[in-house]
C-alpha cells in the first residue's frame, strides 16, 4: 500500500508490523482440537464419567448377575420320629451341597416357611412317608419341592427307567456380562455424544465464547469438525477401555473384527454427536439443554436394550424400538462383538443410525446460533 496516512500526524513512523509467522489452512482446526482434548483431560469429572463410570457399572452388574452355581435351597424338617432319617437321606445324597436342611419344631418350621426363610417344609408322617408344604407361587419353593422329592425318592430306592447323563454349560458369549458390555458401550457413546457435544456447545454459547470465536476469522466448519473429531478420538479410548476390561476381567470373547467395532463406534459417535448438535442449536442456557438431553436419552435408556433385552416389551412395540438410534447401535455392537457379524449384514441398523445422524446434522447446521 502506498496510500499516505493522513491521520494521525506523522510524528512517529508507523512500525512496520512485519508478520512473524503465517498460519496454514488447518492451524485453526488443529488448535481447536488440541484445546478440546486438553480441556477434557483436565476435567477430572469428565474423565470419571466417560471412562471410570462405565467400567464400574460393568464391574458391579457383572458381579451381581454373574452365572453362579444353582442356588442353595433351604428347608426345614418338622421334629418327629422320621425326621432324623429324612435328614440323613438328604445329607448322604449326591446333592447334599445344594440342600440345606435342619430339624425344627412344627411351629418354628411353618413360621419360617411363611417368612420365606425356608423354601419348603418336610413333615414326616412317622410311617416312612413325607408330607411336603411349599408355596407353588414362589419359583424357589417349586424348585426346592422337586429337588427334595427327587432326593428322597432316590434315597428311598427308586429305580430310574431311563439312563441319562448331564453336561453343564456356562460359555462366554451367552452370559449376562456378554449382553451387558455392548449395551454399556452403546449407552456410553450416546451419553458422551449428547453431553460432550450438546452440553459443551451451549456452555460455550452461554459463556459468549462462541460469539468471541466467530468474531475472529475462524472457519465455523473447522470448529464443528474439531468438535466431531474429538468425539471420534474419545470414542476409540472409551470403546477400547471397556472392551479390554470385559476381556481381561470377565474373559469376554470378541468375535467381530476390531475394525468393524471401531467403525460402528465412529458411526454411533457421529450420529449422537449430530443429535447433540441439534439439541444445542438454539438453547441459550445450560439448564434448558440439560433437560432436553435427558428427555431425549430417557426413552432410549429404557427401550433400547442397555441393561435388559427389549424383547421383554410387547412385540407390537418392537418395530418402533428398533427405529431408535441407540437400539440400532446396541444391536449392531452385540451382533458384532458376540456373533462376529459384518457391517454388510446389518444395513438396516446402519441406515437407522445414518438417517438419525444425517437429519440431525442438517437441521442443526440450519438452526445453529453462534451468538
Amino acid at each position: 500500500m502506498t496510500v499516505a496516512q493522513q491521520t494521525p500526524p506523522a510524528e512517529m513512523p508507523k512500525p512496520a508490523p512485519a508478520p512473524q509467522r503465517t498460519n496454514g489452512r488447518w492451524a485453526g482446526f488443529n488448535h481447536l482440537l488440541k484445546a478440546r482434548m486438553l480441556e477434557l483431560k483436565r476435567e477430572p469429572e469428565v474423565v470419571f464419567w466417560v471412562f471410570g463410570f462405565p467400567i464400574l457399572l460393568a464391574l458391579g452388574l457383572g458381579i451381581a448377575f454373574r452365572n453362579k452355581p444353582a442356588d442353595v435351597t433351604s428347608i426345614a424338617i418338622v421334629q418327629s420320629p422320621g425326621a432324623d432319617d429324612a435328614l440323613a437321606m438328604i445329607q448322604h445324597s449326591s446333592r447334599s451341597s445344594t440342600i440345606r436342611a435342619q430339624i425344627l419344631d412344627r411351629d418354628a418350621a411353618l413360621l419360617g416357611l411363611r417368612l420365606g426363610k425356608f423354601d419348603m417344609v418336610v413333615v414326616p408322617d412317622g410311617k416312612g412317608g413325607f408330607e411336603y408344604r411349599y408355596d407353588p407361587a414362589r419359583p424357589e419353593s417349586v424348585l426346592s419341592h422337586a429337588e427334595v422329592d427327587d432326593v428322597l425318592q432316590a434315597a428311598g430306592g427308586r429305580k430310574d427307567p431311563v439312563a441319562t447323563t448331564t453336561v453343564t454349560s456356562s460359555e462366554p458369549g451367552s452370559r449376562y456380562i456378554d449382553f451387558l458390555v455392548p449395551g454399556l458401550l452403546g449407552m456410553n457413546l450416546m451419553n458422551s455424544g449428547m453431553w460432550g457435544v450438546g452440553f459443551s456447545l451451549v456452555d460455550m454459547r452461554q459463556r459468549k465464547l462462541l460469539k468471541r470465536f466467530v468474531g475472529t476469522p475462524m472457519r465455523r466448519s473447522d470448529f464443528l469438525l474439531a468438535v466431531m473429531s474429538s468425539r471420534i478420538l474419545l470414542m476409540i479410548v472409551e470403546v477400547g477401555l471397556l472392551l479390554a476390561f470385559g476381556v481381561l476381567f470377565f474373559h469376554m470373547r470378541v468375535l467381530g473384527s476390531f475394525a468393524t467395532i471401531a467403525l460402528w463406534g465412529a458411526i454411533g459417535s457421529l450420529s449422537f454427536g449430530g443429535l447433540g448438535l441439534l439439541t444445542a442449536s438454539r438453547a441459550q442456557k445450560i439448564e434448558s439443554v440439560s433437560g432436553l438431553i435427558n428427555l431425549i436419552m430417557m426413552p432410549m435408556w429404557i427401550f433400547s436394550g442397555v441393561f435388559f433385552s427389549y424383547e421383554r416389551f410387547p412385540a407390537v412395540l418392537h418395530p418402533f424400538i428398533k427405529l431408535l438410534p441407540l437400539t440400532a447401535l446396541n444391536d449392531a455392537l452385540r451382533a458384532t462383538i458376540n456373533e462376529g457379524a459384518t457391517l454388510a449384514s446389518q444395513t438396516g441398523r446402519l441406515a437407522v443410525l445414518l438417517v438419525w445422524g444425517g437429519v440431525s446434522f442438517i437441521l442443526a447446521l440450519k438452526w445453529f446460533r453462534w451468538t
Binding site: Q20, R212, G215, P217
Partner: protein, 310 residues
C-alpha cells in the same frame, strides 16, 4: 481516505418492539481512539456488536475500512481485534494456550511471546485461566484481540469491574496500540476513562447520539469549566433556581434533590456573590464545593440523569 469505521442511520429493533438503536451515525478516522459513552442500556453494546459484524442491523449501513460485512466478512475479521463484554474463556486452558488458540485463527498473527510481554502476562503464561485475577483476565481478553495483529480494536466495557491499578494498566495498553497506528472503538460508562483515553467520543442515550466531540469540546459546550455545588437551609431553598442563575458568571443551574449545581466560568466571582445572596435571605450554607466540570456534568446537563443511574 475512507474512515476506519463508518455507519449511517443504524437501527436495531429486537423482536419488533424494543428499539435498541435508533438512527445512529458515526465516522471514526484511522488512528483515532473513539468512545461510546452512555449509561447501561443506552444501546452501546448493540451498536458495537453491529459494527463488529456479530449482529445484523435492522436497517442502516456499516462500512469498516471501506468494506462491507456482507461482501468481505473474512477479510475484515483478519483486520479486527475484538473484546466482548464478559467473555468467559476456558478456565482449564493456560494463558499461553488460549493466546495460541486465537492466534491460530489468523493468517498472520503476532508472536504469542510478544503479546504476553506487552500485556504483562509473561509470568502467568502457564497458569490456567481459571486462576487469573479480574485484571489479568481482562488483559488476556485484550491479548486475544491483539494477537491477530489488528488494525482496529473494538473494546466493549474493557475496564468494568476492575480495580484502579488494573484499569490504568489497560489504558496504557490501549494507548500503546493507538500510538502504533491502530484505531480503537470502545464503550464505557466511566467518564474518567472516556476523558483520558478518547480523542473523540459520542454520548449515547436511548439508542441515539446526543452529543459528539472531543472531551474538552463537550465540556466547553457547558459554558463553564467549573462546577459549584452547594446546599442551603430550608428557608432559602424555597427560592427558585432563577435566583441562582442571576448570580455573576453562572452559565447553568441544576437542582438535584436539594443540592444545587452551578456551572460557572469564574468561580472567584460567583462564590462571594453566592455567599452574600444566601446571607441576605437569612439562610445558611450547609455545604459548598467546587470542582472541574466533567463529562458527567455534560451528560447530566443533556439528559437530566446521572450516568450510573439505573
Amino acid at each position: 481516505m475512507a474512515p476506519a469505521i463508518e455507519c449511517r442511520d443504524l437501527r436495531k429493533t429486537y423482536e419488533g418492539k424494543v428499539e435498541a438503536v435508533r438512527g445512529l451515525n458515526l465516522a471514526i478516522e484511522t488512528g483515532e481512539c473513539f468512545g461510546l459513552l452512555g449509561p447501561n442500556g443506552a444501546g452501546k453494546t448493540t451498536t458495537i456488536e453491529i459494527l463488529e459484524g456479530l449482529s445484523q442491523p435492522t436497517s442502516g449501513e456499516v462500512t469498516i475500512l471501506g468494506q462491507s460485512w456482507k461482501t468481505h466478512d473474512r477479510e475484515l475479521r483478519e483486520q479486527l481485534g475484538i473484546s466482548l463484554q464478559e467473555t468467559r474463556l476456558s478456565e482449564k486452558l493456560s494463558v499461553r494456550e488460549t493466546i495460541e488458540l486465537f492466534a491460530s485463527f489468523y493468517e498472520h498473527p503476532r508472536s504469542s511471546d510478544e503479546v504476553l510481554e506487552k500485556l504483562q502476562l509473561t509470568e502467568k503464561a502457564d497458569s490456567w485461566v481459571g486462576k487469573l485475577s479480574g485484571g489479568q483476565r481482562q488483559r488476556l481478553a485484550v491479548a486475544t484481540a491483539l494477537v491477530g495483529n489488528p488494525k482496529i480494536l473494538f473494546l466493549d466495557e474493557p475496564t468494568t469491574g476492575l480495580d484502579p491499578q488494573s484499569r490504568r494498566q489497560l489504558w496504557e495498553i490501549i494507548r500503546a496500540f493507538q500510538r502504533a497506528g491502530g484505531t480503537v472503538l470502545l464503550t464505557t460508562h466511566y467518564m474518567d476513562e472516556a476523558e483520558r483515553l478518547c480523542d473523540r467520543l459520542a454520548i449515547v442515550d436511548h439508542g441515539q447520539i446526543i452529543a459528539e466531540g472531543s472531551p474538552s469540546d463537550l465540556i466547553d459546550r457547558l459554558g463553564g469549566h467549573h462546577v459549584v455545588e452547594f446546599s442551603v437551609t430550608e428557608k432559602v431553598n424555597g427560592h427558585s433556581v432563577d435566583h441562582w442563575r442571576a448570580l455573576p458568571g453562572v452559565e447553568g443551574v441544576r437542582d438535584d434533590d436539594g443540592v444545587c449545581s452551578l456551572t460557572v466560568r469564574e468561580p472567584h466571582l460567583t462564590i462571594p456573590a453566592l455567599l452574600e445572596a444566601v446571607g441576605q435571605r437569612g439562610g445558611e450554607l450547609l455545604h459548598l464545593t467546587t470542582r472541574q466540570a466533567s463529562l458527567e456534568d455534560v451528560f447530566v446537563n443533556l439528559t437530566g440523569r446521572h450516568l450510573r443511574e439505573e
